[in-house]
Amino acid sequence: MNPTGTALITALLLAATAALAALVFPAAWRARVVGTLVAGTGSSGVWAGAAALSGHGWDADLPRLLPLAGMRLAVDSLSGWFLLLIGAVAVAVGVYTIGYAGPGGRGAGSRPSLSLLPVFVGALLLVPAAGSVPTFLLGWELMAVTSLGLVATEHRHHAQVRSATVWYAAMTQAGFVTVLIGLTWLAAAAGTDFTAVRATAGVLSPAVKNAVFVLCLVGFAAKAGAVPLHPWLPRAHAEAPSHVSALMSAAMVKLGVYGLVRVGFDLLGGGPRWWWLTIAAIGALSALYGIMQAAVATDLKRLLAFSTSENIGLILLGVGFAGLYNVEGARGLAALAMAAALLHTLNHAGFKALLFLGAGSAVKATGTRDLDQLGGLSRRMPATTMLVAAGALGAAALPPGNGFVSEWLLLQSLLHQPGAGAVLAIAAPTAVAVIALTAGIGVATYVKAVGTGFLARPRRAAAAGATESPPSMIVAMIAVALACAVLAVLPTITLPAIGRIVASLHLVSPPLDGGLTAIQLSGYTTRFWPLWLAAAIVVVTGLVAVLARRFGRARRRAVAWDCGDGPLTSRMEYTATSFAEPLQRVFDDALAPERDVDVTHHEESAYHVQAIAYRQRIPDRIENRFYQPLLRAVERLGLAGRGLAPGVMHRYLAYMLTALIAVLLAGVIR
């Protein structure tokens, strides 16, 4: 069997053995064994992805495995890319779990959590490898269910974990239902096997194609956490144990994007313009709203979760514009936009996994996720702080980081207009404005996260008592940081693979060349040297520091200038809330924070105030505007429903009688 097949089968087998091992081994050894096996699954996933990307397509038919339709696996270059991405994240998470789950048998190290983790990774690998609609749906539902179990790992400790799990379960299953209807409709119209679907996609009636696309769009956008369907994301990612939220945020949400690209470009073979405009619009909305909520979030993992929504928004913008250009006939630019989107999926997987693992190590050491209580970790946990800073550099899309490369590519694809039609003439500048504002606020968000969360003095005893995480967590994070560095400095190593994927999506290969060290738009003078840029920044900084050191005298440690009176306490430091206050005031009407101030006066006179309580909460407006009324309506329906069954015996018999009569009448009338 060719390499892709062997690699994928070994990955799935390893996952199965890891799941069993988790049940068998005692608590002390469980984390170590499962961690290594998950890392093994991940590395064979990477091997499968790499083999698929280098041209070894593979498909296998296992009819007996599933009763009705049998299982069909088909790995082409597109699924190879996502296998590689998921495998890489799984390797890091596997090694990280060894330290994070730790010897104790509770929480992340408990038997159910550690047995579900490999099954989750296996399901993640199964979805892109699926070759037929039933297998895809199986993998999708398996992934949803196992991740649900993992999110609920610590439901005994906190109440909000339970509410997060309920939200997550409801929205994931609702999303799955829409995908189920969409794909089964497609299968009914064009056959269950992907190759059959591709063949008959051309003859499908536009109405069916539009309906299938809309249903799949809703389901996949929900899984990807795009904004109108995002409420589960900040809850699930914040409450899940960090290694799980790293897997979910870096790998699982990407399968939403994979679904969209597979259905939109590959199976249905492109569609009318409004398809891609909706995707781009959803992308823009997710990017802006996600980063605005992240900018004012004070919970570290909630901030990272909303930032995932933002990056998914950017990716969807890339996919949307790829479709738009394709419809306009500018296949070169379409390929460029798709290349930017794909590269950003990998870059985002890199820096987001690093950030979540770093956040996990900080939360494990300090016990709290609230940025207003952290601080001072740079001296207590130097390795974690530097690694989180490296991740933040990538996430904020600043030059030497890997986020900047894919954002640069995305902007380039928007700057060049192919003899613009009216739609593109308006869409492209607005998209550039959205990306720019998102990047700007994103930088502010990550300065807040790193600055208030890790630097200066600890604000609470929990942060003061923090100690560095166990080595296996640091090693995992270093590995991911190195991967991000390679992606930042040599992004061109991914270009041949992206070229092959884009070609398989009926697009021309992207107009990018310029050898190993430069990204050059062929036919234009736009070029950019990620390698030399990063090297220049490092070298010149070193030179300047050394030259300056030669001039003056030694550095002196002195108490910070406190205007002459009492020592500066940690309460005087800027917290995450105060840091984000100007931004929140600027976007006040978009965020609509809820402030309630209640003043308790002295009994004797109303003029003397005893205590003032001030609470401010920034609600998720989209959730309040759409989801709360929906929930209330469902509740009212439920209450009304309860009235139907008051426990009166003959009320039930009456229902049966009327039903019987109705059926008979129907029989009679027809």
């Binding site: 008051p646 426990g647 003959h650 018999l653 009688l657 019987l660 008979l664």
Partner: protein, 219 residues
């Protein structure tokens, strides 16, 4: 017996069968309901006997005898035993008053006739034309169970449904295989036993088994 006489007798029995069901709707005292039930049992046994006679098959005769014993003997006896221990004799406040019940019975009978037409068309034998009567009695029994307050009236409603089903079985197929009949009657006996236990326990704990009293249990 000539064919034509047995045909008339059969129609007589079906008429009696239907009338007794309507009578059950009409009367309020439980004792009169039980006697009407016995009449219906007799009518049903008559139908079964006549059909057995037409078919000359001993098996159907056995079934007719079994049905007769059960419907005329065992069930009414058990009902009377339950009735004697339960003081609330009259159906005080039925949900639908008598005139409304009767109108409903008429409507249900019409519906039964309309609905049973395809059933009759299947096997257009002489007796099959009377199947709508069985269906009508089933609907009426259902209606009775749905609109009566007393637990016992509901039991009688269930019994009517069972008689209706048996009648349909006999009339439509001209004789019911023994096993089917046994199964039906076994269910019947079980139902009556359970209801009897239920009512006696209700009686022991709550006194009058007015179903409205049951509502407080739920809220």
């Amino acid at each position: 017996m000539s064919n034509e006489v047995s045909g008339q007798l059969l129609n007589l029995c079906c008429g009696l069968f239907l009338l007794s069901a309507v009578g059950v709707l009409w009367r309020r005292q439980v004792s009169s309901l039980i006697t009407l039930l016995v009449v219906q049992g007799l009518a049903l046994t008559g139908i079964a006997g006549l059909l057995a006679a037409q078919r000359h098959s001993p098996e159907v005769i056995g079934v007719a005898v079994g049905v007769g014993a059960l419907k005329v003997g065992v069930v009414p006896w058990m009902l009377r035993r339950v009735h004697n221990r339960v003081p609330d004799a009259r159906e005080t406040r039925p949900l639908a008053n008598v005139s409304a019940s009767l109108l409903a019975a008429a409507g249900l009978t019409l519906l039964a006739y309309a609905a049973a037409r395809p059933l009759v068309a299947l096997a257009p034998s002489a007796s099959a034309h009377a199947t709508p009567v069985g269906v009508a009695v089933v609907l009426i029994g259902f209606f009775l169970a749905a609109t009566r307050q007393r637990a016992i009236s509901q039991i009688i409603g269930v019994l009517l449904i069972d008689n209706g089903i048996a009648a349909v079985a006999f009339l439509a197929t001209g004789g019911v295989p023994l096993i089917v009949e046994l199964g039906a009657s076994a269910d019947l006996v079980l139902a009556v036993l359970v209801l009897q236990i239920l009512t006696s326990r209700l009686l022991a704990t709550f006194g009058p088994t007015d179903l409205d009293g049951l509502r407080e249990l739920h809220d």
